[in-house]
Symmetry: D2
Amino acid sequence: MTAMSGKIVLGPNRYGKAENRVVRVYRDTDRHEIRDLNVSTCLHGDFDAAHVSGDQGAVLPTDSQKQTVYAYAKTHGAGSVEDYGLALARHFVDDIAPVRSARVEIEEYAWERVLVEGRPHEHTWTRTGPEVRVAAITAAGRGSDRREWVIGGVKDLVILKSTGSEFGGFLTDPFTVLEPTTDRVLATSLDVRWRFAAAPDDWDSAYAGIRAVLVERFAVLHSKALQQTLFEMGRAALEAYPCLAEIRLSAPNKHHFSYDLGRFGIDNANEVFHADDRPYGLIQASVLREDAPDAGIAWDPYTGAV
Amino acid sequence: MTAMSGKIVLGPNRYGKAENRVVRVYRDTDRHEIRDLNVSTCLHGDFDAAHVSGDQGAVLPTDSQKQTVYAYAKTHGAGSVEDYGLALARHFVDDIAPVRSARVEIEEYAWERVLVEGRPHEHTWTRTGPEVRVAAITAAGRGSDRREWVIGGVKDLVILKSTGSEFGGFLTDPFTVLEPTTDRVLATSLDVRWRFAAAPDDWDSAYAGIRAVLVERFAVLHSKALQQTLFEMGRAALEAYPCLAEIRLSAPNKHHFSYDLGRFGIDNANEVFHADDRPYGLIQASVLREDAPDAGIAWDPYTGAV
Amino acid sequence: MTAMSGKIVLGPNRYGKAENRVVRVYRDTDRHEIRDLNVSTCLHGDFDAAHVSGDQGAVLPTDSQKQTVYAYAKTHGAGSVEDYGLALARHFVDDIAPVRSARVEIEEYAWERVLVEGRPHEHTWTRTGPEVRVAAITAAGRGSDRREWVIGGVKDLVILKSTGSEFGGFLTDPFTVLEPTTDRVLATSLDVRWRFAAAPDDWDSAYAGIRAVLVERFAVLHSKALQQTLFEMGRAALEAYPCLAEIRLSAPNKHHFSYDLGRFGIDNANEVFHADDRPYGLIQASVLREDAPDAGIAWDPYTGAV
Amino acid sequence: MTAMSGKIVLGPNRYGKAENRVVRVYRDTDRHEIRDLNVSTCLHGDFDAAHVSGDQGAVLPTDSQKQTVYAYAKTHGAGSVEDYGLALARHFVDDIAPVRSARVEIEEYAWERVLVEGRPHEHTWTRTGPEVRVAAITAAGRGSDRREWVIGGVKDLVILKSTGSEFGGFLTDPFTVLEPTTDRVLATSLDVRWRFAAAPDDWDSAYAGIRAVLVERFAVLHSKALQQTLFEMGRAALEAYPCLAEIRLSAPNKHHFSYDLGRFGIDNANEVFHADDRPYGLIQASVLREDAPDAGIAWDPYTGAV
């Protein structure tokens, strides 16, 4: 490595309004519906002057983006987060001159109807989770140059199996003290994103279906490692959903250590565990089709990114 | 107020091991069960010497308390958190000489079985929430002096109704600019604790039943204010459960502000809201029976307390 | 315990506006000053009708309390959080008829001036922490019945000593496997509250001075246990500040476990530690003067309370 | 977009042990030193079999990586996080056969010595923050193919100026209601990363110096927008440190809204603000030298990444 003296220039940049907490209630009938969203908008384009000379003439305020997010929740928000995000992203690219591409990242919090005398109530819900549905929609270019990418996903999906998981036959080095195991708790908090190659018939059904395939695969597969489990989950989702091009999974191995009760004359046959916080294994894998279309800027992050 | 010169002495004190993350799996048959707990133990007693002279001869290490928590998860952990907590609290009072009273605070995280081909899987679950079941069990004294208190509860129970809530006719002062409303979103994140006067037939059923009564009452009551809603929820629970002596509810008013879209020529009839984070109204109320037995030290907090 | 059938009545209740995020800038000269506050107000009084019948005629909206908090930041906010809190609490008791007592809880976040060419900048700061100054001011009654209590404090004060701490001679039971140690890391995150018996000459100086005494005592005392350390810290503060009546300390024992490197032929003489998250010992103690005035409702919590 | 039927294959993948909480105490003299770290390791390489067939023969357990992290804290941890991270990354690439590249991400928490009678204490500290020093070290290839990248940085650096910031002359659209301002509070929580082109003489001095340049530039520059401020901060750092190739800044615009007190007959000339939580503007920019060497995989994230 050597010291540098080259001209200093502006590199990649972007901006937007993050974490607009939009709640949309549909009250066309007595049976209301609710969508509870956290919406972030991000614009790329020709914003050099704003940085280099302080000239804001090409900069649409983040406040204007916020207003748009809430306005579109009324005018374009009657369906899935993917459709709503597409409407927003297209608007920014089509209607705001300096914008070359726009990205909309959305979290959707789930609610379930309260039961009253066994029947779902018409306008009262409790929050469910911790899992959160996510989407990231990107639109770039205008007219025939238009390209669009839709990513769906789920995060904080905490899943655990109390058996059907082993770990052995691994590489060892002088720092290896871990013993192989033929039966362990396997637990993780999944962060999964899938890239669509085609719009499914119904975005909401696709979300529910993909989530179900992932979870079912985790349950029934005898795990030889989290790596294998993630790959098989991704493969199952791609097999079940031809509209998907690619899937990415990030999974902390939430260690559950069998507690040593033998010291106290108590037998513990994988019944009592300590759930440890840190450190944790962190496994990340992607699964894709060989003929997947170019991901372009679909995966470029915004919120949380440096 | 005047400056003081009196003798300086030790006041109330307590200690224990907080947040033992115990996971208990029951695998007696192929259909496993799981209890996922966060257990804190707290001892009161004659620990003056430990503070004043540094003599630890009366202090059972918090590490020993931790070992006990995990050991009892095997030997006494086969049922509800209330029974498990009672076993732990009684042990500390009965078996550790300097202990005058013991408190066990427990959080229980809920899991639901994964569906595989429509059927619940035998050993795989996903976490549900955000709501968390809580319990605080206190035992004091020995033999005929023994007293016990059991508090159950739920926290982080986020609930929302999209209509059926008004707020008007309130007191005004020179700083009042709020307009009355006849239709608003009412949302909160409930933290509720109930004190048992008698052990119910089944702790787990009582938990599910009390939660259901609270939630149902929130849904069906036309709300004139969160104060009224909390009181009626508490009353409904006490009416339905004669085993309860008292109930305490803490409820942040999670404000959902109808968004001003009229500026953009868009009609918004309580359909698009901004969910604000802070500040929030914070309403706290208790409901009790006139013949409720003495609460004693039942409500003395431990974790989080100063 | 027996089932209950007594009349169901409203018990203790309170309400207010929590977490008003007030930032006060003083710009009377080019050298600006800043106070960064999180203010919560809480009213007690005759609010039975609001709960029982839904009549809000005695209820000052939490929104009005919010407006007052911001208004008073201008009109009464030019000094310490204790003075500002007293002004707010007195206002609510004196000027809002149904109010019997008012509590104001405040967090103050610290900022330090940015250095520019070695000199503190006049209007730019960076946040410091994690420690946060806290205060809780309560006023009750009117005229000759007026009583007031002021609690100051600090929370999230993380402190560590790498030697000068032992733990031994403790009580043992069948679950005790801990070995005594003559040299360990002692680390905690202090949550300390002190009750004033008299107003000091300067609230800000008192805060800085009490904090300094606590921290210095932690440093120089050879610790035989966290219990002894807390008691001696409290005693030192009371000795140094005659204006204090009482002090309460809550201290998680943030365990630092010496890492076993001997397995790899590496000597580790208390040089490499694993800082564990959970569980942790949690030690709580109070120190007070024998002639301390009655605490009354000074310690009744609001935010975070059930 | 069209539905896909191509062969499903494993894509990019990686794994490691995240968030090892290492505390290193140097006690060679009575004046101890402390390094408080959060270390994550990440390995790339030929791990296809682990995913596709479940064969773990090429997988070094994350537990072994953890042991290495703690062992190296003793054997290689006597200096800066950058040197320690380089030692770890090189070890994994050089000594673990299947590894093609290794990334080590480190957070370092700052401590300052407690003052006792005005003098810094030899073995007691309090934590400072909220800002956290970060580093990400990547090594790839062996022998003459070896490449290395070092990224330093700081996150959660909260900074505020109470004047010297305007925002006007911006682009408007039908959703623009924001008014231009000539005087506002500018506040952000900086997340900054810089890529070294050459090792500085001293990593710790470089960290302190770069941080100082950034903060000073923020203070003295009259801001026309956060975009301009970020660019000028980055330029100043590159100008002052020829060892830097590139710098990336992510900055939430932590809005401070001047509170409307005119309704109450109170003048508020930018003295009382509401510090809002969400939404927030989020501005991201990079500044680099035209002759910067190839970033390669330097910026590929690990922890937090999907």
